[in-house]
C-alpha cells in the first residue's frame, strides 16, 4: 500500500489526524510523512497522533489512565497456560493471583496503579514487562549497573568466583537476547574483574530482590 499523503513511498505506519470537526481520520503513511505530520510547528489546527508500534498513543500527563487501559487490555487477552520461567504466574484465572510476598494481585495493581514489592516484578513477569514496554517504550534496562558493594558492608557478598560466574551468565543471556548495550557492559566488567588480583573484595551481583 502506498502512503496516503505522498502517494510515493510504501506506507509503514498509521497516524490519526484529528480533523477540524473533532472527528479522527486514520491515514496509512510512510515514515517520512509521519514524521513531517508530527513535527513540531506543523500546520495549525491539525493535531496528529502517532500510533506506530511499539509506541503507545501519547499519554502526556495521563500515565495512570494509560496504565489502566493497558492492564485492561492485558487481562482481556490472557495467555493460555503458565508462563515459562521461574516464579512466573499463569493468568488463566484473570488478575486474581497474588504475589506470595506482598499479596498484591493484578487487579489490585489495576486499582492502585502501583506495584506492591520488589518480588512482584519476578512474580508477574511478562505481564509487567508488557505494561512497562507500553509505558516506557523500552523492555530492557540500559542504564548504569549498580554500585559496587563496599568491603565489609551489607549482606549478600559473593565470592569473586561467584561474581565472575554471574557476570558470564548475564553476558551469555544478554547476547542471546541481542541486548548489546548490556552485553558490552558485562563484557567490560568481566574483563575488569578478570584483570584484578583475586584478593580484591567482591561486589554484589545477584539481582537483589526479584
Amino acid at each position: 500500500m502506498k502512503c496516503e499523503l505522498c502517494h510515493n513511498h510504501d506506507a509503514q505506519t498509521v497516524i490519526y489526524r484529528r480533523e477540524a470537526d473533532g472527528s479522527s481520520r486514520e491515514l496509512y503513511v510512510c515514515r517520512t510523512c509521519a514524521d513531517a505530520e508530527r513535527a513540531f510547528g506543523g500546520p495549525r489546527g491539525v493535531s496528529v497522533t502517532a500510533m506506530e508500534a511499539p509506541e503507545p498513543p501519547p499519554g502526556a500527563g495521563n500515565l495512570p489512565q494509560q496504565l489502566l487501559g493497558k492492564l485492561e487490555s492485558l487481562l482481556s487477552r490472557l495467555p493460555e497456560g503458565p508462563e515459562d520461567g521461574e516464579g512466573r504466574v499463569d493468568f488463566t484465572d484473570g488478575g486474581s493471583k497474588r504475589c506470595p510476598s506482598c499479596g498484591l494481585s493484578l487487579d489490585d495493581l489495576q486499582n492502585l496503579s502501583a506495584v506492591g514489592c520488589a518480588k512482584c516484578y519476578a512474580f508477574f513477569g511478562e505481564a509487567l514487562r508488557t505494561i512497562v514496554a507500553d509505558l516506557q517504550g523500552c523492555r530492557k534496562y540500559a542504564g548504569d549497573p549498580p554500585a559496587e558493594r563496599q568491603p565489609g558492608d551489607g549482606a549478600g557478598e559473593g565470592s569473586r568466583e561467584a561474581r565472575l560466574g554471574a557476570l558470564r551468565k548475564a553476558l551469555k543471556q544478554a547476547i542471546e537476547d541481542e541486548d548489546y548495550v548490556n552485553a558490552k557492559r558485562f563484557r567490560e566488567e568481566l574483563r575488569k574483574l578478570e584483570d584484578e588480583p583475586p584478593a580484591k573484595p567482591p561486589e554484589g551481583e545477584e539481582p537483589h530482590g526479584a
Binding site: G59, R129, Q136, R149, A155, G209, A210
Partner: protein
C-alpha cells in the same frame, strides 16, 4: 519570620531564561527486603522509615525537616517534592545543604522507600544527573537496592522501573499556548522521548501557560544520556516558544496589547484572585516583560512577585510574612471586610494585594503606538 530568603529561593529556582522556570532531577530507590510504602503496615513502615532516616543522616549529614512547617509547606511548590497528598503516614523529609541555597533532598516513604532529588542548573543537566547518581551510589555501596534484570532498579511505579530517574522541567509557554501549538508540542516531545504534563482540558490553555516536560523512559539509557536528550528537546522547545513570542509581538501587537491591558485591569480592580487567575496574571506580566511590551524596574529577576511559586497559599503567606512588616500585615488584614475571613476568602484577597504592586510597570510607549497602528 526572619528567615533568610535565599533558603526560600535557591538560585537554581530562578531559571536562566524566562521560558525555563526550573529543572528537578530525581532518583527513586527501594530496598529488596521490604514491600513498597503503600503496602507496608503502619508499624513496619514507621520502623523502617526510622532506619532509613538514620542511614541518610549518618551517610550524608542530612537533617530531618519533616516537622518544620515552613520547609514542608513550600517544598512541594519550590522544589518539586512529593505533593502532600502522596505523603504517607511514615513520610519523612530530609535535606542536605549543597551551598548557595541549593539542597540535596531525600524523601523517605513517599511512593518509594527513598526519593533523592536536586534542582538543577540549566546548563549542567547531564553532569548533575551523573553527580546525583554518584551521591546515591554512596548509599548503595552500603545498602543494596532492589535491582534485577531486565528491569534495572525496581520501583513502586512501573513508569519508574529502570534507572528510577526523572528529569522534570517547568516551562512557561504563553507563545505556543497562544498559537494553539501545545498539542504539537506534546507530539514532538514524544518523538524525543519526552512527555508533557499540562493542567486542565487538552484544548484549553493551562493556568499560567505552564507545562512540565519530563522523560518518558527511565530505562533505555544511563541518566546522563537521558538528561542530554531532555536538554536537547528543551532547547527546541525554547526556540519554538521564542519564535511564537516574537510572532505575537511583531505580527499581532494589538492582541498582545489587549493581554497587557486585561492583566493591568485585573491588578487594578480585582478584589480577589484564585491561584489559577493569579498564574494567568503572572503569565501575561512575564510575557509583557519578555517581549518588551512592559517596562519597569520590577522586571528584574529576583523580584519575588515575578515567580509563579509565590501565588500558592503556603508560599505566598510565608513570602508576605518575610517581606512585610507586622504593621503592614495588620493594615492588610484591616482592609478586608470581616466576612472575608469568616468565609475563608482571605488568601484570595491577600493574593490581590500581593500582586497589585506589579501595576507599577508601564506599557512601553513605542509598543502602544505600534499596537494602535496595527494593520495586520
Amino acid at each position: 519570620m526572619a528567615r533568610d530568603l535565599d533558603t526560600l529561593f535557591p538560585p537554581a529556582c530562578r531559571g536562566v531564561q524566562d521560558i525555563v522556570l526550573k529543572t528537578q532531577l530525581s532518583l527513586v530507590r527501594n530496598h529488596p527486603e521490604h514491600p513498597f510504602p503503600q503496602h507496608m503496615t503502619r508499624r513496619e513502615g514507621l520502623a523502617f522509615a526510622e532506619e532509613l532516616c538514620e542511614r541518610v543522616k549518618s551517610l550524608f549529614g542530612a537533617e530531618d525537616v519533616t516537622d518544620d512547617p515552613l520547609t514542608s509547606d513550600i517544598a512541594e511548590t519550590y522544589f518539586g517534592l512529593s505533593p502532600l497528598s502522596r505523603r504517607g503516614p511514615f513520610y519523612r523529609l530530609l535535606r542536605k545543604a549543597l551551598g548557595r541555597g541549593s539542597y540535596f533532598w531525600i524523601e523517605v516513604g513517599a511512593m518509594n522507600h527513598l526519593t533523592f532529588s536536586v534542582l538543577c542548573e540549566h546548563d549542567a543537566m547531564p553532569q548533575q544527573a551523573e553527580a546525583l547518581w554518584g551521591l546515591v551510589s554512596l548509599y548503595e555501596r552500603r545498602y543494596p537496592f532492589a535491582y534485577a534484570q531486565p528491569w534495572g532498579y525496581l520501583s513502586a511505579q512501573l513508569s519508574f522501573a529502570g534507572t528510577g530517574f526523572r528529569i522534570r522541567t517547568w516551562v512557561h509557554v504563553p507563545g505556543l499556548s497562544h498559537f494553539d501549538q501545545l498539542t504539537q508540542l506534546c507530539n514532538a516531545a514524544e518523538r524525543y522521548g519526552c512527555l508533557v504534563e499540562i493542567d486542565g482540558p487538552e484544548d484549553e490553555a493551562p493556568p499560567g501557560n505552564l507545562a512540565i516536560l519530563f522523560n518518558r523512559s527511565t530505562m533505555d539509557a544511563p541518566v546522563a544520556e537521558i538528561a542530554r536528550r531532555h536538554r536537547r528537546f528543551l532547547g527546541m522547545l525554547c526556540d519554538a516558544e521564542d519564535q511564537a513570542r516574537r510572532r505575537l509581538r511583531l505580527d499581532f501587537p494589538f492582541v498582545l496589547y489587549d493581554r497587557m491591558k486585561r492583566m493591568r485591569g485585573l491588578l487594578r480592580d480585582a478584589e480577589m484572585l484564585e491561584p489559577d487567575e493569579a498564574l494567568d496574571v503572572l503569565s501575561a506580566y512575564r510575557l509583557g516583560i519578555a517581549t518588551g511590551a512592559l517596562k519597569g524596574r520590577e522586571a528584574k529577576a529576583g523580584f519575588p512577585h515575578f515567580w509563579f511559586e509565590s501565588v500558592w497559599d503556603g508560599p505566598m503567606i510565608r513570602e508576605m510574612e518575610c517581606r512585610m512588616t507586622p504593621e503592614e500585615q495588620t493594615m492588610l488584614v484591616r482592609a478586608m471586610p470581616p466576612g472575608v475571613e469568616r468565609h475563608g476568602y482571605q488568601h484570595s484577597c491577600c493574593r490581590v494585594q500581593w500582586l497589585r504592586m506589579l501595576i507599577t510597570v508601564r506599557l512601553d510607549p513605542a509598543f502602544v503606538r505600534e499596537a494602535k497602528e496595527w494593520r495586520g
